[in-house]
Symmetry: C2
Subunit: 310 residues, 2 copies
């Protein structure tokens, strides 16, 4: 049975929501869970749930706040993140899941686990919903300043992930740009686009922001600044559109009834659009399995981050 370490102290709603999520994960998935965090706090939270399984707790007295700088976080020897990574390093956990500070996750992961040989820069990989099987975006925020080689490696790693984990045959890899013509983009994207053409991936050239969703591409390659802006823009649009639609359904008696009649189909649609359903974001390029659950994670997103994809 795979053994998953969960950082009980990571995320906007830790530890309560994380522990609810851990309980869900233990129930829904055949995995063994180790909670890493402040012993007493974790025990108190667990005590709120009658019939909670007897989770192993590994004590880690310090927590890493969401906006702490990675260099400060790295100096904490007893943070739940650090202790979690060390468990994995010693082989006492197969993977680590945290909804915490992703910059700190990268830094501590890099320090404790090290990179895979030949990988220049680990990155954050995110799968977003699309008209296809979902689209992989690498880098989703770890590396702000990138060189063409980094983007080429993001493409390679993303392609392997799409094939092995999402089950996409011969994944199409594109470089995110501001237009389809090779002359568009920045110096970085032009060089990466050229070098990817010679790499052992199914390179389809430049793609644009809208292609992330239309099923035209399986792996979108970009630097972490651009990836982060694109992802947060998606979240923003989705939550804005959700607000506007909610308002529309509440407008009058007819629209309220309309909502009731279409509710079950709409809920399915919402799940298809919901970020959290697509699970956590793996840090790729490390010698280990570390998954970042969404910082504002609700309990159901914890099992999504834990479970193996399909």
């Amino acid at each position: 049975m795979p053994k998953i370490a969960i950082d009980a102290m990571g995320g906007d709603h830790a530890p309560g929501v994380v522990i609810e999520g851990a309980l869900l994960a233990a129930r829904e998935l055949g995995v063994e869970i180790v909670l890493v965090g402040q012993q007493e706090v974790v025990e108190q939270e667990l005590a709120k749930h009658s019939g909670a399984p007897n989770f192993q707790i590994v004590a880690a007295p310090q927590a890493v706040p969401m906006h702490e700088s990675p260099s400060v976080a790295l100096r904490k020897k007893d943070s739940s993140m650090r202790v979690g990574f060390e468990l994995m390093k010693r082989g006492e956990a197969d993977a680590l899941v945290s909804a915490g500070n992703s910059g700190a996750m990268m830094a501590i992961g890099m320090f404790v686990m090290g990179r895979l040989s030949q990988v220049a820069r680990p990155a954050i990989l995110v799968v977003v919903p699309s008209l296809g099987k979902g689209t992989v975006i690498v880098d989703a925020g770890a590396n702000v300043d990138c060189k063409p080689l980094h983007l080429v490696q993001f493409g390679l790693m993303g392609s392997i992930y799409a094939e092995k984990i999402l089950g996409v045959t011969n994944p199409r890899v594109g470089v995110l740009s501001n237009g389809e013509e090779d002359s568009k983009g920045t110096e970085l994207t032009r060089a990466a686009n050229q070098q990817l053409a010679a790499a052992p991936v199914n390179h389809i050239g430049y793609v644009e922001g809208r292609d992330i969703f239309n099923g035209k591409v399986d792996v979108v390659v970009c630097d972490g600044f651009t990836g982060n802006v694109a992802l947060k823009t998606m979240e923003g649009v989705a939550s804005f559109a959700g607000e506007v639609l909610k308002g529309a359904f509440q407008k009058n008696i007819s629209s309220k009834l309309g909502y009731v009649m279409s509710r079950s189909s709409l809920k399915q649609a919402y799940r298809r659009l919901d970020y959290a359903e697509y699970g956590g974001a793996p840090l790729i390029g490390f010698d280990g399995v570390a998954i970042i659950a969404h910082g504002g994670s609700k309990p159901p997103s914890v099992p999504q981050a834990v479970r193996p994809r399909r």
Copy 2:
């Protein structure tokens, strides 16, 4: 009565849709319209509409295709864009509207009209829907490689636009970044963020992709590469979510009835979310008024691009 030149040959669906749009604009807004394009083609299109007003047509034998490089487009002395800008230059039109190639618009506008004194780089300004009065994004795609000074000027111009055109008092200006802390971002965003703090605008520091929609910021400043990626990502999410919702309503009898009952409120919501309703994108920093209508423009978006905001 303001006199608006419309590039009849510009856009994915030119000239048919552009001319339909021009007819709508003439009917809805008190403006005089001059159509610029291939005389015969424009006349044939107009002939399809019985009772069409007697538009002035200014002949321009060449068209600029959507993906033509700006430098090639610039060499065409008789393109509808070029002739349109020249009309404005001579004072025979107060503004030019085109749904065509935005790179070519920038290049030809720059050549014919020139920049406003002290503006280093004209830019494309877009207003997107938000929980507030709409959010200004500058630059939405004109300048891929920017210096901090350019971003500072985008912030100044965007602030003036938000105040004078959208009616926002003391507009909040933020630099688009991958996090809120000043230490985040690229070299470019950090320098621009610092310099904007000393500029005569209501600078609020860094903002993130999701803030574009939540009413927290009025003017979002970024380079044209990032702006383009963010905008096209928005379009992509919106159209994907639209598809998924459409599917949800078509799912079964109950959801179909539900749609019928909520249709009128949903249509209002859709208009609030629809890009085209927010009108064209002005090129700012030129000595003239040039508006880019969305390339995939439907007829109603032409009057939206022509009309003065509120």
